[in-house]
């Protein structure tokens, strides 16, 4: 097993810069997830680590060895492709034996390894079939098996669950995570699904337009998003983002939200931070749906809002509230069922709110 280090990686395709000066480190036995929308450079980064793309600038280290000019075969990495890339004319057994035969491993050992891995992945009964006779989930397991039999230093996975149906995806998510812990393999996993990233990763690198926006644990990324992009990309429903303006009124620090829709008093400490860090007084207020509460009666700091729609999800309800021109999603217990059009009192947990500079889109904290 090994750690992977990417230093100042830049990769261009003609005029398009796919990855811009990216640096990150994945420690031994760590499960790292590259998260981002399509075209953010996450797959390009993964392919560069695998050796399928050659970086234009920067270095890639596996186990402290610079591997920039090594072909994929000499990097001792396994790659699970989005569309599995199983060899269509070979049986499952031969697919899994392929990387071992390629290095002329003795037959008994190949058999032994395939037996072990197929038991772990529960694909023993598929060994004699060809890929065309497998379901998506089965192909996925075989692709994983082909990577596992090699016992490589690093596993690289490119959206391996994207092509599965929802139920299978959530099953495989848990299984894959458990498997990674059991074999203790350094794994880099690419996905555009924030749920996968949150649930599986030890560490998440959120990427956008070729730039790493934030690298941290799922908790850090969720609770302390470093930028507006991270805040809006991670979490479901997406974080509520409202335009606001910072002002001093009667010696107090306040935020005027929207077109004077409501006013929030904030601590002087936070007010000072805004004065020090922000470009100007124009800010964006971010608050997650679970940090907004609806109340039956007015209390201090409550805001009146109109119920726009109620989305019951079984275990919880999402209530869309309208305050002036702004919409706000609120997560509530399923028992809270206001009528559409009803005026309701709501309240924000100010300790859990996030402020972003409107110009730089960076978090103020």
């Amino acid at each position: 097993m090994a750690d992977v280090r990417v230093q100042n990686l830049t990769k261009r395709f003609d005029d398009v810069v796919a990855v811009k000066n990216l640096s990150l480190e994945c420690k031994d036995r760590e499960f790292m997830v590259f998260l981002g929308p399509s075209g953010c450079g996450k797959t390009t980064t993964l392919r560069s680590i695998a050796g399928l793309e050659h970086p234009d600038e920067g270095d890639i280290y596996i186990d402290n060895n610079q591997v920039n000019d090594l072909p994929p075969a000499d990097r001792d990495v396994a790659f699970v492709f989005q569309f599995y890339a199983l060899y269509p004319h070979m049986t499952v057994y031969d697919n899994m034996a392929f990387p071992l035969k390629a290095v002329k491993m003795p037959k008994p050992e190949i058999e032994q390894r395939i037996k072990e891995v197929s038991a772990v992945l529960r694909i023993e009964r598929l060994l004699n079939r060809t890929p065309s006779k497998l379901s998506g989930g089965e192909m996925q397991r075989v692709a994983l098996g082909r990577a596992m039999v090699r016992r490589p230093k690093v596993f690289l996975m490119d959206e391996p669950l994207t092509n599965l149906d929802a139920k299978l995806r959530s099953e495989m998510r848990a299984e894959l995570k458990r498997l990674q812990k059991d074999i203790g393999a350094t794994t880099i996993y690419v996905t555009h699904d924030q749920l996968e990233a949150m649930s599986m990763g030890d560490k998440i690198a959120v990427m956008n337009q070729g730039v790493a926006q934030q690298i941290g644990t799922p908790g850090e990324v969720y609770d302390h998003p470093a930028s507006l992009f991270v805040a809006s990309f991670v979490g479901s429903p997406a974080m509520n983002l409202l335009d606001c303006e910072y002002r001093q009124e009667d010696g107090k620090s306040v935020l005027i939200v929207g077109e004077n829709d409501f006013i929030l008093t904030i601590s002087d400490e936070l007010g000072k931070k805004i004065q020090d860090d922000a470009t100007d007084s124009n800010l964006i207020l971010g608050i997650r749906a679970e940090d907004v509460f609806v109340r039956d009666e007015a209390a201090e700091d409550t805001v009146q809002a109109e119920v726009y729609v109620v989305e019951p999800l079984g275990s919880e309800n999402i209530i869309d509230l309208r305050i002036g021109e702004n919409m706000l999603k609120v997560k509530t217990l399923p028992t809270v069922q206001p009528d559409i059009g009803q005026t309701i009192d709501m309240w924000l947990d100010k300790n859990r709110m996030h402020l972003f500079d409107k110009t730089t889109e960076k978090a103020i904290s």
Partner: protein, 326 residues
């Protein structure tokens, strides 16, 4: 909508429409293929001759017995077999090799591919005429090109004062190459036909191979690259098995075609010298249109037909096997 319905009911029903499209083909097929096929089967059991005004007399299997009892018939089949094996093998190797070379992105790929396909688009008669000139032993281009290498080496070695043995060896090689008699020497003549046919039909093998190669998804090679496969391992375990079905189809076409080779022979050697290039088809022509033994030639044609069907079936069996694996 209503207009359309009334239009439809006034004109053709679906069935009539289908028939209208199919009938010309069916009629053509019956008149030009199926009737002659059956009629020639009847004639093969008769003593019919196309230049006699006599009606065909049924003579049983006499034509077949005569053909099989002629020693020469077997030698025509052997000649044809030599030709088929040599030509198809050469076309396969060259065509597939060219396809492997062309199966990548480079400047002018389209132009080069098109240029390579030109021989295939020419009429076999024209190709035969060309090559009679090219292969001419006294002033043909082919011998000149063959002699070019030794001739140049002869000049260089002479200028650099190499040992006289080497210098004269190259000189001899050059003049020998210039004097090779291609089309009018028994052994060389068949070989010449192989060269001509290969020149003409390698592009066909190339085209089908290229189609097969470019259909192999790139990610399989990436997967193999990650799986530490060497170039040869990738070729043996991915490229070859995946193009095999198309290669077999191409081989099938070429074998069937080579088996009935006529036009090239007729133009380039006319079966000669002696009967060195007398293929079965050439002999068939001779029996039918020089000797006017129509019945006998029909019998030979049927024997040829059975050979080709048998051969095709072997290929098709392999093809199904290859497809089943893919």
């Amino acid at each position: 909508m209503r207009g359309e319905v009334s239009f439809r009911s006034k004109s053709l029903s679906d069935y009539q429409l289908k028939m209208m499209f199919i009938m010309p083909t069916i009629i053509l097929l019956i008149v030009m293929n199926i009737f002659p096929l059956l009629w020639s089967l009847v004639l093969s059991f008769s003593d019919y001759s196309a230049i006699n005004s006599q009606a065909p007399d049924f003579i049983g299997t006499k034509n077949y017995i005569r053909i099989f009892s002629q020693k020469a018939t077997w030698s025509y089949f052997v000649t044809t077999a030599y030709f088929v094996v040599l030509a198809v093998a050469a076309q396969f190797i060259i065509g597939f090799g060219l396809a492997l070379l062309l199966n990548r992105e480079f400047q002018g790929k389209g132009l080069i591919t098109t240029l390579m396909l030109i021989p295939m688009m020419l009429s076999p008669v024209v190709v035969g005429l060309f090559w009679r000139f090219i292969l001419d032993s006294s002033w043909g281009l082919f011998n000149y090109l063959l002699s070019l290498g030794p001739a140049v080496l002869h000049k260089i070695t002479a200028a650099l004062h190499f040992p006289s043995g080497i210098v004269s060896w190259f000189k001899d090689a050059a003049s020998n190459a210039r004097g090779i008699i291609w089309l009018t020497r028994p052994k060389a003549a068949l070989f010449s036909l192989v060269i001509i046919d290969t020149w003409m039909w390698s592009p066909f093998m190339m085209l089908l191979s290229l189609a097969g190669l470019s259909a192999i998804p790139k990610y399989l090679y990436e997967a193999a690259e990650i799986d530490r496969a060497s170039t040869w391992f990738k070729f043996r375990h991915i490229t070859f098995p995946l193009v095999a079905p198309l290669l077999l189809i191409a081989l099938l076409f070429r074998t069937m075609d080579a088996f009935k080779l006529f036009d090239l022979v007729y133009i380039a050697t006319a079966g000669g010298p002696g009967s060195a290039t007398e293929t079965v088809s050439m002999n068939l022509y001779r029996r039918a249109f020089q000797d006017y033994n129509t019945g006998e030639s029909c019998a030979l044609a049927y024997i040829l037909l059975i050979f080709i069907i048998a051969l095709s079936n072997i290929y098709i069996k392999y093809l199904n096997k290859a497809k089943g694996n893919a």
